[in-house]
């Protein structure tokens, strides 16, 4: 596919993510930070975010599976996830985390379970979109480097 078409597809994807509320202005800030001196910035951050989130989600699942839930630890992890998602601009994930923390404070196990599921759901949804995005970006990048060489 021609790079312009690719670019348009990428833009369309990102815009739809904004429209759905998956991403917020923070992501725009990230996009602005990416420039000639820092070409892979967004990709780097997104990848980091995905790795980190998966790690946290795994830990959370483990904690919630226990008979007696250690809410303070759960809270700590959720806090981390919330922090990183807000840094990236993953709005839906962030909101889900906030809700999760609320249930944690109330020591509501069922609520926490549900919230965890919501967070996971949001995260995976976002991740798939991110993957498409990164894929498109790589193709554009490859095309450009091919052009230059």
């Amino acid at each position: 596919m021609a790079p312009t078409a690719l670019q348009e597809k990428l833009n369309g994807l990102v815009n739809s993510m904004f429209a759905e509320g998956l991403l917020d202005e923070q992501f725009q800030q990230l996009q602005m930070l990416q420039d000639g001196s820092n070409p892979g910035f967004v990709a780097e951050v997104v990848t980091l975010f995905c790795e980190d989130s998966e790690r946290i989600l795994a830990e959370l699942t483990k904690l919630m599976d226990q008979a007696v839930v250690d809410y303070s630890k759960v809270d700590a992890y959720v806090h981390q996830l919330k922090g990183s998602s807000s840094s990236v601009g993953a709005q839906n994930v962030k909101l889900a985390c906030i809700q999760f923390r609320q249930f944690c404070e109330d020591n509501n196990k069922e609520g926490c379970m549900r919230a965890l599921n919501v967070v996971k759901h949001e995260y995976y949804h976002l991740r798939s979109k991110f993957e498409t995005m990164l894929h498109l970006e790589n193709r554009i990048q490859a095309y450009e480097t091919k052009q230059q060489s």
Partner: protein, 795 residues
Amino acid sequence: MREPSKALEPLSVVSEWSEWEDHKSNQSDLLNYSNLVLVQFRTGQTTQFGYLGGAFDVESLVENLLRQLAGNQDIMVNVYDVTNISEPLIMYGPQNPDGFMPLSHVSMLDFGDPFRKHQMVCRYSQKPPIPLSAITTPSGVFVICMLAGYILYAAWTRYDNVREDCRKMEELKVQAEAADVAKSQFLATVSHEIRTPMNGVLGMLDMLLDTDLNLTQKDYAQTAQICGKALIALINEVLDRAKIEAGKLEIEAVPFELRSILDDVLSLFSSKSREKGIELAVFVSHKVPEIVTGDPGRFRQIITNLVGNSVKFTEHGHIFVQVHLIENSNKVMDAKVDTDLNGCLSDMMVPSDGTFNTLSGLEAADRRNSWENFKLLLSDEMPQSDKCKSGMPCSKDSSNVTLMVSVEDTGIGIPLQAQDRVFTPFMQADSSTSRNYGGTGIGLSISKCLVELMGGQINFISRPNVGSTFTFTAVFQRCKKIAGGDPKRTLSESLPTKGMKALLVDARPVRSAVTRYHLQRLGITVEVASTIKMTLNALSEQNGCLRSGKHPYILLIEKDSWTPGMDVYLHDQLLEWKQCGQIPEVPKVILLVTSESDKAKVGSFVDTVIMKPLRASTVAACLQHALGMGKQGRKEMPNGPAFLHSLLAGKNILVVDDNKVNLRVAAGALKKYGAKVECAESGKDALSLLQLPHKFDACFMDVQMPEMDGFEATRQIRLMESKANEQNKCGEADEGSERAEWHLPILAMTADVIQATYEECMKCGMDDYVSKPFEEQQLYQAVARFLLSKPNSDL
């Protein structure tokens, strides 16, 4: 001559004594009379001349003589022989002397007999009556003398009294003056004393407002600040008054720009006038030079006072400030005379559509400021305006320039009986004024003194319920243009709006003239039309000009000329024209509104809205924004990213966060501004990196981290620093490379910005905090505070 008694019949008179002597013979003593009138008698028998032998009655003779001599009173005479003094012999006269003895006259007689002495005693036979005239006359004279004396005495006493009073008055006057001066001095001293702690209070309030406050606290602090500032303003006024009275107020002479002073005053009152819905406008004539020499602070004070009064006392309508050169005002006077000559009727005529030719359509107090005269002034300026813009008008050769400033408002006016007291200090129109409108009544008296110190006069015309117009003149010196050029030089040169053309739609000529003045300052040429239809006609007719001109056209429309469906109509019309090629592009439509509420009613096809009162700088900013020229100006704004860039460029910053994502993002953001970023993922790593000496300029520390959180890490760092500082102090202090004190600015990065976190941050030694993720403005503020004040020792 009286007739003698009948017993005798005088025959003739023998006049000479000598004749008698000749006829004398041995006679007994006879009375010796000096001029004796001898009467010759006829006896019954014979008439003979000469001596008749008989003894004639001397007594009767004497009596007759005496009678003749005496006048009104009978006189009695006794002649005594006083040879023997103790035994006077009566020679002549009654035996028993009677008569009014107390008043008797004794005279000696000499008959020629050496052996005998005689005396004659004359007296009145009766007690003389009290002579009335002899009493009344002297008493009259006496009374008159007494009166005269009394008058003189009274006059003298009065003179003395008056002099005494005068002296007392002098004393009292001196005392009163001294008391007055003492009062002023007291007032000044006390005010000065009050001012110092007041400034302290205000300073603290400023600092308080700089800290983080919640909404109520901020509100309270701001209210306190407003009150404090009002108090300081009052104290300053009183001090001014005291200074003026002591004659110590001095007028400076520095060059300043008139129009910027007026802009300042405008901005001071713009929000207040907008709130009230009053139209505030300023017009400075072209003939007024750009820069004059005088006292800008005092000039501003006078105008602020007058405009402040107008704003206070006006509820609707307009406040119009005009500045003209004084030679024009003579023409205004003549114009006024003309209208007066035409008869008062012309003044009294109400225009047919019910509005007056003033700024807002409401009647203004001073007829002189009517549109006709304003037009005269403007038309007078037109042909010369091109000359004036470049430099000094060539006609004036004196160095003094007299300006006339008038402030016209449509407020409640001043009641007629209060009009003479307007300039007296502490006098307000009536007692309720202070309660209703605030103020102390001191402003106008200070303004008057200042105006007089500037060599001018202040005057006013006021009609109750119509409005007031205050006018004053002031003398300034011309200022030669500064060689280096004024840094605040005319805005038109620095702005990209120079050379633009604009169409202004405004039904009121005065207001449009004001708007045009402001726009011309920006270098925009303006054409005026009264209605939108006329504008559209003008646009469609001027195709030729538009096509040739490169600059975009702007349409400025006054709110009053804007009807509800207008925006759609206008937009459609303009689009149509663009499509059929009549105009190269759709001009920007800008609406001029007076108050906040009007702003909301605007339709969607208006590109931008400019709020009145118009100031050159706000107009410029709005135009730039509307025309998309904003980017050029950005660099000048201190809060822009460029500034942040300059702050952070090349600085070493440490970012500590356990979350890789956050770390990456924060580092990326800081790198964008040119900082050199190092990352640490835990408190421990941070501590090891921050071992002294280190090269970091600042540190962003995440608060919530496992193992060692941000607070703990900061505490440790501060501990390290204090140890090192103590060592420095004790050790050699003259090594040049050592810093005076180690203190790394540590900023907390936290997601929850609550009070408790803030206190915690401060307690452990952090300097500030920013929110996660970074917000540009906050980041700038936080960073600026520390990096601007730090010495660049290691760059």
